[in-house]
Amino acid sequence: MLRAVATVRSAPLTQLMLGIDSMDSPWTARVAAWGTIAALLCWRRFRHLAVYLVIFLASGLLVSEMTLEVGRMRPAGIRILGHWQGYAQPSRSVTILVLVLVGVLYTLVPAGRLRTWGKLMAGIIIGAFCAARLYLAVDHPTDQVTALIVGWTLPVLAFRLAVPDDVFPVSYRGGRKAHLDIGGRRGKAIVRALDHQLGLHVVTVEPFGLESSAGSTPLRLEVRTRAGGQHVTLFGKLYALNHLRSDRWYKLARTVIYGRLEDEKPFSTVRRLAEYEDHLLRLMRDAGLPTPRPHGFAEITPEREYLVVMEFFEGAQEMRRAHADEQVIDAALLAVRQMWDAGVAHRDIKPSNVLVRDGRVLLIDVAFAAVRPTPWRQAVDLANMMLTLALISTPEQVYDRALRLFAADDVAEAFAASRSITIPTELRSLIRTDGRDLVGRFRALAPKRRPVPVQLWDIRRVGVTMVLIASLAAVLAVLAAYVQVTGLL
C-alpha cells in the first residue's frame, strides 16, 4: 500500500504532507493536554479531570509497552521522508494526537450537536495526519489502526462508563456544581417519591434561590396534599453524594481552622445528613423557634439522594432588604435568645438565612445547627446576628436593643469571640461593602474584654493538620511523577 502511495509523491505534495506531519511536535500534545487540564480545573470538573488523567497515563503507558514488546521496524523498502522516533507499532504520534482530541471532546465539549461536529473535525484532523504519515512512509497502515484503537476506542469507552453524559453532563450553563439537574428521570423520581412517601402530589417543582445555596439543591415545590387536596407551597432541599463530600471537606477545613471548639464529625451517609436536618427542624419547632415547619424527607435514591421537605416562607424577604425597625431587631435578637435557652446554635447566621415577613423574623437553613454547642459558638451566633442587624441599622441601636435580652457581658463575650473566620463569608463581604467598622464599633460599645482565643490546639487538630499537609505533599509528588512519566513537561 505504501508503495502505491509513493507513486503519487511530488515535491509540493511532500511539502504539504511535511507541514501536516509537523503536528507531531511534543508541544502540540503538551499545549492541548495542559489546556484541557486547565479548563477542567477552571470549571471545577474534577471527576472528568481524574478520568482524563488516568486515561492519558494508562494509554500512554500501554502504547510504550506495546511498542517495546512488538519492536516493529519502520516501513521497509521505501524511502522514509518524515521524522520518526522509536518503534513503529502502534504509532505513538497518532495515539497521542487522538488521545488529546478525544480528551477535549469528552471533557470540554457538551454532548449533542456540538460534540458531533467536534468529532467530525477531529476525524478530519486525524485523517489528514494519518494520510500524511502514510505518504511520508513513517507509519504502516496497521500501526495507525492499532493507534486508533488505543487512542480513540478505549478512552471513549472509559469516558462513557466513568463519566456518562446523562449523569455527569458537560455543561456551560453556569450555576454551582452543587446543584443537581432536576429534570428528566430525577425530576420524575422526585415527583414519585413525594407522592408515595409523603403523600404530596407535586404540581410543579423548580430550583429556588440557587445563588445563596452551595450545600444542597434548593427547590420550590407546589403540591396538593392527599388529605384535603389543598394547594401548598413547600421548600425542598435535595441532598446527594456530592453534598456529603462537600460537607466532609467543609468540616475537615473547620477542624483545622477552629480546632476543638467545634464538633466537626462528618456525616457518614447522605441519609444521615437528611435525617439530621429533619431532626433539627423538629427540635427547633418544638423549642418555639421561628424556623420552617418540617414535612419529613423523601428517599429519592437509597443512600444516595434524599429530599428534605419543609415549610416555604412565602412573601418573606432577606434581612438585608427588610426595613429595620425595633420590632424586627427585637425579634431577631429574641430568636438568638431562644436558641441559647434551648441549647441550640444555628452556626450560619447571615443575612440570607434571616428572613422577615410582616415584622416577624424567620430563621432558615438549620442544616449546620448544633445541639448543646460550646458557649463560644453561641456567643458567635449572637455576634453574627448583631452584625446582620447593624447592616440595616446602626450598631448603637442594635446594641441598645440587645441589652434588653442579653447582659452587657454576653455582648462583650460575643465580640471577643468574633473573628474574621467566625463570620460567614456572605456577611463578611457585606460588612466590607458597607464600609463601617461594625465589629470595632460593637467592641467599643460593649464592656472591655480580652479576645477569646480561637486557635486552640489539641492532638486531633495537630494530627488532622499534619495528615492534610502530608496528603497535599503526596498529591504534589504524584502529580510531579505523573508529569514526568507522561512527558507533559
Partner: protein
Amino acid sequence: MKRRQGSGPDPQRRRRGPLAAALAVALALSSAASMLTGCATLHDPVPSCGDPLRLAIIAQSVPGAGYVPCIGQLSEGWSSSAFEPQDRGTSFVLNSDRSPGQPVQVRLRASCAINGASPSPPRAPGVLTYTRLTSVSPRFTGTIYDVFPGGCVSYRFDFTTGPHIALMEQFESAIGLYPRQQLRLTLEKKLGVRLDS
C-alpha cells in the same frame, strides 16, 4: 402510604456506580501494571546482536551505515537503557554499577568528527577505530569512534582511574557491530522485506 424504591434515574445510577468504579480500578491497575512491566522492559530495551529483527530500526536510523551497534555480551553489573532510535541516528547508554551516574553514551550517526583522535586496533573488518582521551587522571575520560562506510558509532566514557581498565574491556565487549549486509539478508529471508529502498 405505599413505598417504592428504585424508581426514576436511580437503578441506572446504581448499576453504573460499580461499573465506573470497576473501570477506574482496572485503569489504575493497568497503569500500575504498565508502569511496572514498562520499567522491566525499559531496563534493557537495546536489541541484542542475537535479535536481528529488532536491529532493523537501528539500521533504518542511518540508512547507509555498514554496521549497526547492538548488545553483545553484557558483563555482570552492566545494563543498557535510554534506547532512542530516530531518523537522525540512534543513541543509548550502558550503565555499570561500578561507575554509578557515569554511563557510557553510545551513538550511531552518519558521520563523526574524529579530529584529534588516534587510530586504535579495528573492532571489525572494514572498520577504523579511533580513540580520543581528554583526561587520564583522576578520571579516565574520552571517546572511542568506530568509523565504517556510511556511518560511525561513538562511545563516550568517564570512569574513575583504577577500575577503568576492567570497565573499558567490559563495555567494549558489551557492544557488537552487526553487518548491514547480513541484516539485509536476514530480513529478506525471515520477513520478506527489503531493508533499503
